[in-house]
Every structure is written in structure tokens, then in C-alpha cells.
């Protein structure tokens, strides 16, 4: 009896619930406030630090005019681009999405992102940005995304440790040779273990950054021909292997796990004297080791004159193909990448921004403490040395083939010559197959 009565109730409940879900999604899409055009903006900035900053930038834009209303949707990092792709395929994409700068050309080629040339013809904003960033957004000469933020790799070093080792704390290492000499002096050995390690190149970055640093050349030349099996790369890996032998796998692994744990990074307590990372690593020093006396420098050169080349990435704001309000989206992107918004982002998040003027303003901004300014200025200065590595449109997944070879070399399973030769061959094969 009882059950008989309950069953229909249960179904009614189910219907109501499913109705609710349908209503909700339908509602959020078609919300239209008056005569304003509502555009949907997707970002992965949901953290308690970043979210208020981007929300403020959006609110400023909404208040600055009365034609467009931007709705910011936070989509988690792991989902955002697959969801965007699905939304493009369903012909109902958001209007502005933050996406990876290094694959912008690929998305242009695949027709996922909108060609922005028609907007740029009217108002060319390309000179707002660092040239290297702008070039990364181009596919066959047209831009498919507008640079938002970026990063680079710099050397952090512990000044107290420098003094203890009898080194000049205002004179960071300038070449790979000096880096080695300094590290020797900074090392403090205690039996089989180390109380302090001078430097190890593969904490913070991978060997590809050092290969880039060695000769300023990516794994592909201008024509998309793979150039990984080179003299410079061989020498770089030999140099990396020297470091590897110097400290041994056990020490390296145990330090690595401390670095991965973030708070326990040995750079904070002086157990690691020099460390390469992005300028934003400074915010961790600020949080976890506020009293640390440190300096920042550009990456050393392989040899005098070879250049302090560093590596960077970043994100662009793009309009997905099929957006219903591209004109309005473009207006918002202009606001997003203009000096005011970019400077606000830079100061509040301590993040490198793509807009040159905004970056320079931020380094002088009165809200930024002096210590922050030093690091930020270095980040700006280092942009000159920073190269991006946009994925080649014919072999976007080439690192799948390169990484295992580099792993094998570092693990001693393959010689440097053999590993680079194999990597070169498989890249050539990949390019050939996809053409």
C-alpha cells in the first residue's frame, strides 16, 4: 500500500528535479539584460587570488559603457579547452576564452579560433605587446588570439649563501662555467649527503630550456624542419649529465620531492643556493620565506656572447569560431589587454603581462613593495631574451616523441648521440607523415 503511494511521488520528484536542471541551463544562456548584448567570457582563473582581480576587470568594463555586458564564467583548468572545443562543435561557443598562446596558430589552422585580422585592420593594437608574444599568435600572417599574460625563466640566488662561500652577492654567474664554479664553492658536503647544494639545472625547468639557452634555437627552424640533433644540444646534454653525476640520482630525487612539495622547497631554507624558475616564484618566497636575502639574474650564457636566452609561455584571449557577438567580444578583448586592466592584473597578481606599457608601469607602481619591484623589473628586462616555442602546426604533439628520448638519456639508458639521433629521426618521420 505504502509503496504504491510513494512511487508516483518519487517520479514526480524526479521530473521536477530534471526540469530544474533544464531550466537552469536554458536560463543562463538566454539571459538578456535590457538592450545590452551579453557576452560569455571563459577563464580558468578561479583561485581566491585571481578571481577577484579578473572579476574587477570585467566589472570595470561593464561599467565603462552601456552596450555590452560581459559575464565571466570560471571553468576549471582541466576542462576549459575540451569544453570550449565541444561548444565550438555544437555551434554554441562562448565569446571570449583564455587559451594557451603556444597553440594559437594550431587553433587558427583548425578553424577553432576566429581570424582577428578584420578587427586589427580597423584598430591595430599589435604594438601593445612584446613582439615574440605577438608572433606566436600568427598563422599565415593573421592573428588568432591577443596576448594576455606571459612568463619567463630567471635565476634566483641566495645572497647569504654567496657571502658565506666568499662570493660577491652582487655578481651572479654569467656563464655556464661560472655557474659550475660557483656551485662548487656553494656546495656544503656532509659525509654522503649535502647540507647545501649549489645548483642543479633540472630543478624548476627541463633540459629543453637549456638547449634553447645554449644557442637560441628551438627544435624546429623557420621552415618547420626539425633541428634537434645539433652540436649545441649535444654539448648541453653533456653539461646536464655532468651535473647529474656531480650530485647523484639519490640526492637529486630527494631534493626534487622537496621542491615539488612547494613549502619545503630547499631554496627557502638555504639548502639550495641557486634555482631557476618563473618570476612568479617570488610570490612563494614572499609567503614561505619572507626573510630570505636573495637576488635575481638572467640565465647564464653557455659561453660569452651566446646569449642569455630564456623560455616563456603565456595565454591569449581569443574569440572561438561561431561566436554570436564577435564585435562585442573584440571590444572586451581590447579592454582586457589595454594598459589599465593589464597593470591592475600585474600588480595584484604579481604576474607578467603581455602589454609592454602596463608591465613597465607595474614595475614603478607605488602599490608594489621595493623587493617586488626588483624581481618584476628583472622579469621585464628578461623578456628581451625570452623565446616562445609555439607548436608546429604539422606536428603539434612532437614532444611525445622527444620527451622519452630525453628521459632515456638522463636515465642513462641511451647515449646522448643515440638519443638525439633517434629524436631527430622520429620527428622527421612525424612531419613527413602529417604532410
Amino acid at each position: 500500500m505504502f509503496r504504491k503511494k510513494l512511487m508516483p511521488l518519487f517520479f514526480v520528484l524526479l521530473l521536477i528535479l530534471s526540469g530544474c536542471a533544464g531550466f537552469k541551463t536554458g536560463d543562463s544562456k538566454s539571459a538578456d539584460s535590457g538592450d545590452k548584448v551579453v557576452i560569455d567570457f571563459w577563464s580558468f582563473w578561479g583561485s581566491e587570488i585571481r578571481r577577484p582581480v579578473i572579476d574587477k576587470i570585467v566589472a570595470d568594463f561593464n561599467e565603462s559603457q552601456d552596450k555590452i555586458e560581459v559575464k565571466h564564467t570560471f571553468v576549471p583548468w582541466g576542462d576549459i579547452w575540451t569544453k570550449e572545443l565541444a561548444a565550438i562543435a555544437a555551434k554554441n561557443p562562448p565569446d571570449v576564452v583564455i587559451n594557451d598562446i603556444n597553440a594559437t596558430a594550431l587553433r587558427g589552422q583548425k578553424n577553432q579560433a576566429m581570424n582577428l585580422s578584420r578587427f586589427l585592420e580597423k584598430d591595430d593594437i599589435s604594438d601593445r605587446f612584446y613582439e615574440e608574444l605577438w608572433n606566436a599568435t600568427l598563422y599565415e600572417g593573421d592573428s588568432y588570439g591577443i596576448p594576455f599574460n606571459t612568463d619567463t625563466r630567471i635565476l634566483f640566488y641566495n645572497k647569504t649563501a654567496f657571502k658565506e662561500a666568499g662570493l660577491d652577492p652582487e655578481k651572479p654567474p654569467a656563464t655556464w662555467e661560472e655557474l659550475w664554479e660557483y656551485a662548487e664553492k656553494l656546495d656544503v658536503k656532509n659525509g654522503d649527503t649535502y647540507d647545501r647544494i649549489g645548483f642543479y639545472p633540472l630543478w624548476g625547468v627541463n633540459s629543453d630550456v637549456w638547449m634553447l639557452n645554449s644557442d637560441g634555437k628551438n627544435f624546429f627552424d623557420e621552415d618547420g624542419v626539425p633541428i634537434i640533433d645539433t652540436e649545441a644540444n649535444r654539448e648541453t646534454l653533456e653539461w646536464v649529465m655532468d651535473w647529474h653525476e656531480k650530485y647523484g640520482a639519490n640526492t637529486i630525487n630527494s631534493y626534487k620531492s622537496q621542491i615539488d612539495s612547494q613549502q619545503g622547497n630547499p631554496f627557502f631554507n638555504g639548502k639550495l643556493a641557486m634555482y631557476v624558475n618563473t618570476p612568479t616564484f617570488y610570490t612563494q618566497i614572499r609567503d614561505y620565506a619572507p626573510d630570505l636575502d636573495f637576488g635575481v639574474a638572467m640565465l647564464p650564457e653557455r659561453e660569452p656572447g651566446s646569449g642569455n636566452t630564456s623560455w616563456g609561455g603565456g595565454f591569449v584571449a581569443e574569440i572561438p569560431q561561431g561566436s554570436k557577438h564577435p564585435e562585442e567580444a573584440w571590444e572586451f578583448i581590447k579592454h582586457l589587454t589595454d594598459v589599465e586592466a593589464q597593470e591592475y592584473w600585474a600588480v595584484k597578481n604579481f604576474d607578467n603581462v603581455a602589454n609592454i606599457k602596463a608591465a613597465e608601469n607595474a614595475a614603478k607602481n607605488s602599490e608594489m613593495p621595493d623587493k617586488d619591484k626588483v624581481v618584476y623589473q628583472m622579469a621585464i628586462d628578461n623578456m628581451e631574451n625570452t623565446l616562445l616555442t609555439p607548436v608546429p602546426v604539422h606536428a603539434p604533439d612532437f614532444m611525445n616523441l622527444v620527451n622519452p628520448e630525453l628521459d632515456s638519456i638522463l636515465l642513462g639508458k641511451k647515449s646522448i648521440e643515440q638519443g638525439l639521433k633517434d629524436a631527430q629521426q622520429s620527428l622527421e618521420k612525424l612531419i613527413e607523415k602529417s604532410k
Binding site: 630525487n253 630527494s254 620531492s257 622537496q258 604533439d397 622519452p404 628521459d407 636515465l411
Partner: protein, 301 residues
């Protein structure tokens, strides 16, 4: 007569009405995409800009020109081959232990079942810490016995064993099924065996095991299918990269990378059909072999 027919029809109709949500769901969300993916596996489909028929080129490239395809297939087979027998045996062993009548058994059952409740990314992150070569609990514990632990997730020879090891931790899920089925075995069988002087091992081997073969069969079939689809573990624990020397590049991870990193959707669809055929064949073989070793109660042999 007429009334009876109507009643039957009514009943049939009601049946369909009740399973309607499933039918609609199946046609819209399973069968449709299935047919689409089969058709698109013969094209260079990339979702947004192209879908040209290219015949068997995807399949041809997979078998002849793609080393990573073979790597990923090898990794997946390795994982299935070791993890399925180990987790099945582990679950049976554990449930045999938890089937004893000792005080506090409910407590132990709960404890061993807990890992099965905690699943997903949180567990993988936890294990990444446990398996840390320098500071992880696993190597620390091994160190107490003077065993120098391997580098687990950093050593290509140990990444897959590490994953299998992690899977062993959560055998509790299968254990529950076995435990239920073991409790269903009639006590009289054991009593009769005892009178005949059978040892506990003999009782286990000749009464318990045969009586739970239907559950073993079910477990093996489903975990084989699940094993071939391993993705999350590798995706999370290698940061989506596939681990050192591609040792954690499992089939589905490689497929995902092709689909969503290179946008080579047609290629990925071809891959998914090859996996489908492999799993399909293995399941057929399983079903064919089943009558040889699976006993159903009251069935003649």
C-alpha cells in the same frame, strides 16, 4: 481470449515505457556517437575545419607508421596482464580472510572496504606522495627492512608496477562481491566435507572456489574491460605527459592526446575502434571459455 492478448500487450507496452529513458539515452548518447565515430574513423575529421574521406589511411598509419601506438598498446596489455590476476586473487584472498567468524570482523571489513569508497584524483595524489622516492611512506617502510626502494614513478621500469601496486590497495571493491557470494555458500557443504575429513585448504579449494566461480567470472570480465580503459591514473600521475620514457602512455591516454592535443579526431576514433575490437574479442573468448570452469548452483556438469 481477446482480453488476455490485450493484457499481454499492455504489459509489453508498459515495459517499454519503463525502459524508455534508457532506450532514448542509448540511441541518442551511445548508438548515435558510436555510428558517427565509426564513420569518422575513415576521415581526417578534426571537429572544426575538415572531414574528408581518406579510406583506411588512419588505420594504416596506426599499424605501420606510429611507434607510440605500439608503445601504448604494450603498456596497456602489460597493465591488464598483471593487474587483473593480482587484484582478482587479492580480492578472493581478502574476502576469505574477512569471511572468518572472529570478534571485530565488521570493523576489519569496513577498513578494507574504505579504499574502494575513496576513488579518483584524490587517491592518485595521495599515492604520488606515498610513492615519492625520497620522502614517501612506501620507501620509508621498505627502508626499515633494509630494502632500498625503487624510484617508482620516476623510473620507467617501475611506473606500471607502481600503478598495479596502487590498484591492489583498493581490492576492497571486489572483495565485497566475493564476501557476499561466500556467505551464500551453504553451510551443509562444509559440514559434509568436515565429516569426510577435508582440511580447510581442501574446503576452500573444492567448495568455496567452485561455488563462487560465477562471481569470479563476472569480476574478471568487467575488470578486463575496465583495465583496457585505464586513463585517469596515468593522466593524473604523469601530469598528462605519459610518464618517463612514455612508460605510462596507456592506450586511452594516447588516444586522448591525439584527440584533444593534436585535434586529430579521426585518428583517435580509429584508435578507439581498434580497442573496441580487442576488448570485444577478449570478452567473446571469455564467454566461450566460461562453461569450462564456471559452475552455477544446481547445474549438471
Amino acid at each position: 481470449m481477446r482480453k488476455k492478448l490485450n493484457y499481454k500487450r499492455m504489459e509489453g507496452l508498459q515495459g517499454y515505457v519503463f525502459i524508455l529513458p534508457w532506450i532514448v539515452g542509448f540511441i541518442a548518447f551511445t548508438a548515435g556517437p558510436l555510428i558517427f565515430s565509426f564513420a569518422a574513423s575513415f576521415t581526417n575529421y578534426n571537429i572544426t575545419s575538415q572531414m574528408d574521406f581518406i579510406g583506411f589511411k588512419n588505420y594504416e598509419n596506426l599499424f605501420t607508421a606510429d611507434n607510440l601506438f605500439w608503445t601504448s598498446l604494450y603498456n596497456t596489455l602489460y597493465y591488464v596482464l598483471f593487474s587483473i590476476p593480482l587484484t582478482t586473487a587479492g580480492a578472493i584472498f581478502l574476502s576469505a580472510l574477512l569471511n572468518q567468524d572472529v570478534p571485530g570482523i565488521r570493523f576489519f571489513r569496513t577498513i578494507y572496504y574504505l579504499p574502494a569508497v575513496l576513488s579518483g584524483v584524490g587517491v592518485y595524489l595521495l599515492w604520488m606522495q606515498l610513492l615519492d622516492p625520497g620522502t614517501g611512506l612506501v620507501n620509508t617502510a621498505l627502508g626499515w627492512f633494509g630494502i632500498p626502494g625503487p624510484n617508482w614513478l620516476f623510473d620507467p621500469d617501475w611506473t606500471k608496477p607502481a600503478l598495479i601496486f596502487m590498484k591492489m590497495w583498493s581490492v576492497g571493491g571486489g572483495m565485497l562481491l566475493y564476501l557476499a557470494s561466500m556467505q551464500g555458500v551453504s553451510k551443509s557443504l562444509y559440514e559434509a566435507a568436515k565429516i569426510d575429513g577435508a582440511s580447510s585448504w581442501q574446503q576452500f579449494r573444492f567448495i568455496t572456489i567452485p561455488m563462487i566461480t560465477p562471481v569470479i567470472f563476472f569480476d574478471i570480465v568487467t575488470s578486463l574491460i575496465g583495465g583496457f580503459q585505464i586513463f585517469q591514473e596515468a593522466y593524473v600521475m604523469s601530469n598528462g605527459e605519459g610518464g618517463p620514457v612514455n612508460s605510462m602512455l596507456f592506450y586511452n591516454l594516447y588516444m586522448w592526446k591525439k584527440a584533444f592535443e593534436s585535434f586529430d579526431m579521426g585518428y583517435a576514433m580509429a584508435m578507439s575502434w581498434i580497442l573496441f575490437i580487442i576488448v570485444f574479442l577478449i570478452t567473446i573468448i571469455n564467454l566461450k571459455l566460461a562453461p569450462r570452469w564456471v559452475h552455477y548452483e544446481g547445474e549438471e556438469r
